[in-house]
């Protein structure tokens, strides 16, 4: 059991009994074991106190809970489901599951611009942030280091079995290297591209100097363009530093998100169509929606509130920039690791 689970579960019980906590954890393990990639984002929604798009998922989670505790009442116990779903995701991140980056991005993106009143357990968002800042990632060491090929032992005794063993070790070492090298090269490529972009500070999408854009638009454009340059999700740990450099003096400026969206050229906003994951990428969804005919500031705000349970208000430019950046990464991670 993850050490924090009893504390997480405390949210939904005034005085939880240890056998109930143990049964709930067993259910968490079952849900994790059966977690299909296509359900990951819906589990993220559940962890955020929302209903999943695939509604049967609630029944599946309830069935797992009832399997481990026949007295579990089931039904729409939204907060308890949020804790269970969040714990499943925490377990996936803890186990360095191949989908952990997408999970972390989903949890962080979903938490931005949340409408007041939709309280959800925040511990999982904190865990996701830790994951994205590199505390739990990069088990293989520096992204730029190349491991040495394990050479055959020259002093190995003659004879076929010993030689075969040495050859097998060499093959394994070369295979690992061949898998690692493209990733390493991608990271180097990504760093070079980002540095060149940072030096030029010329918008790739709009073909104008970034400095010529109003603060709000600059925040959106830099976040999107830096996200586009990421080749290996979840990108460099210094993302806020990169964005701060890109935004310059305007990084700490407060921007009205709706104004920022509508001040951006419509052709640019149209690039976001079909790129959103609805409520998990509130900013991307709003930008895409704003490009639709007949949308104005008021109707966009109302739509965000009703369809996304999001409240688009004022925020600091760098936070808006980071938000759109992470949403781009979530879309990439979703396409690559969630199918």
């Amino acid at each position: 059991m993850l050490n924090s689970f009893p504390a997480w579960y405390r949210r939904v019980s005034t005085q939880p009994k240890s056998d109930i906590v143990a049964a709930r954890w067993e259910a968490v393990k079952v849900v994790f074991a059966n977690l299909r990639s296509s359900d990951v984002l819906d589990i993220v929604r559940l962890a955020g106190g929302r209903l999943p798009i695939r509604q049967e998922l609630v029944e599946n989670v309830n069935a797992s809970l009832q399997e481990k505790d026949s007295a579990y009442p089931g039904g729409d116990r939204r907060m308890e489901l949020a804790v269970i779903a969040g714990s499943v995701l925490a377990l996936a991140m803890d186990k360095k599951d191949s989908r952990a980056d997408a999970i972390a991005l989903g949890l962080v993106c979903q938490a931005s611009f949340r409408k007041e009143g939709l309280d959800a357990p925040p511990e999982f968002v904190d865990l996701a942030r830790q994951h994205l800042t590199g505390v739990h990632q990069r088990p293989e060491g520096s992204p730029l280091s190349i491991p040495e090929v394990e050479c055959p032992d020259a002093s190995a005794p003659p004879g076929l079995p010993a030689q075969q063993q040495e050859f097998a070790k060499l093959c394994l070492s070369v295979r690992n290297l061949s898998q690692l090298l493209p990733r390493r090269l991608d990271i180097v490529h990504e760093h070079v591209e980002m540095l060149a972009w940072l030096m030029a500070m010329h918008s790739r999408d709009l073909d104008v100097p970034v400095a010529s854009l109003p603060a709000g638009v600059r925040a959106l454009v830099t976040g999107k363009e830096l996200g586009d340059l990421v080749r290996v999700v979840p990108g460099p740990i210094a993302r806020r530093g990169l964005l701060a450099r890109a935004l310059g003096d305007s990084s700490a400026v407060s921007v009205d998100m709706v104004d920022a969206v509508f001040n951006a050229p419509k052709e640019w906003r149209e690039l976001f169509r079909g790129q959103d994951l609805l409520d998990l990428t509130p900013l991307t969804s709003c930008i895409a929606k704003s490009a639709e005919a007949g949308m104005n500031r008021k109707s966009l705000k109302a739509w965000a509130k009703s369809a996304l349970s999001s409240s688009l208000g004022n925020t600091v430019a760098i936070n808006a920039s980071e938000c759109i950046y992470l949403e781009r990464l979530l879309a990439k991670a979703s396409a690559s690791s969630l199918g």
Partner: protein, 315 residues
Amino acid sequence: MTTPGGVSTDQSPATTETEVAESGLVARPQIQLGLSESMGQAEADTLLAAGPARLIVVAGAEECGKTTLLAALFDLFQVSPIAGVRFGGSRTLVGFERRCHGARIASDALRMTTPRTPISEGVRFLHLRVEVNGSPLRDLLISDISGELFRHVRDHASEAQKLAVVGRADHLAIVLDGRSLVDPAKRTTVVTDARVLVRSLVEEGTLEAATRLQLVVSKLDLLMAAGPQLEEQARTLVRVLERELKAMGFPSALHFVAARPDSPTPEIGFGYNLDGLLEAWVSRSSRYVTAPEQPKRAAPTSEFERLLAISDQDV
């Protein structure tokens, strides 16, 4: 069943925003009424499991005014919203009514009274559903626990497990009896008891840092009636307690209230300052706040990471 006034008398969930939006009606939250006396832990757990709810534990000695505070809050809601907070229903209406009855003309009592909460009831909760400035309805579970139980915990730290519910509390409101605070023979005991209670709860691991503390001085009318010198001494004692709790890692907010003054005046009327307390209870709980600061990051492994991670700190 729904009355023309929008009052629902059954226990079914209120109409959801989606349903309202689909029906084309103007969103207007239904008021839920309930007929329970109070809620036990199982019912409270069901409510906590269903959605976001605030759990408030009101602590204090016998007859310090804990129950009166809750009754007055309920009575205030009968008149108008309190500090932008509207009454949205309750599953324990009967319990509230019973606690309010002694203060009503219908009781034929000569003076306003509040029934004492017996220790045999253990940990019970009253429920309020409220709407805060137009946001979705929110549940408040407010404990009604006998002062005797708090005395037991204070006297024997090992008894703190009986108050394990404090470990889930979003708010712990410690009520200090204003009448005793201006009594030179009792005032030190009042403050010491509060300090010992918090210490017992902390030592037994029952009180967590995520719980917000409020020091609620009740019966402000009696405190002020004792004269400026005694009042000032009482306020000083409370401020010292506040500093001590802060030093223990539990910063608290001070509230001077008069839930049901014996002789209301234009300055101190019925439910005086309860709005501030309610506002604190419905505000965003520290249990539902994500860490605003950037979490600890891995050590940079290249100049690319190092330079930009350092510049990040300037933002």
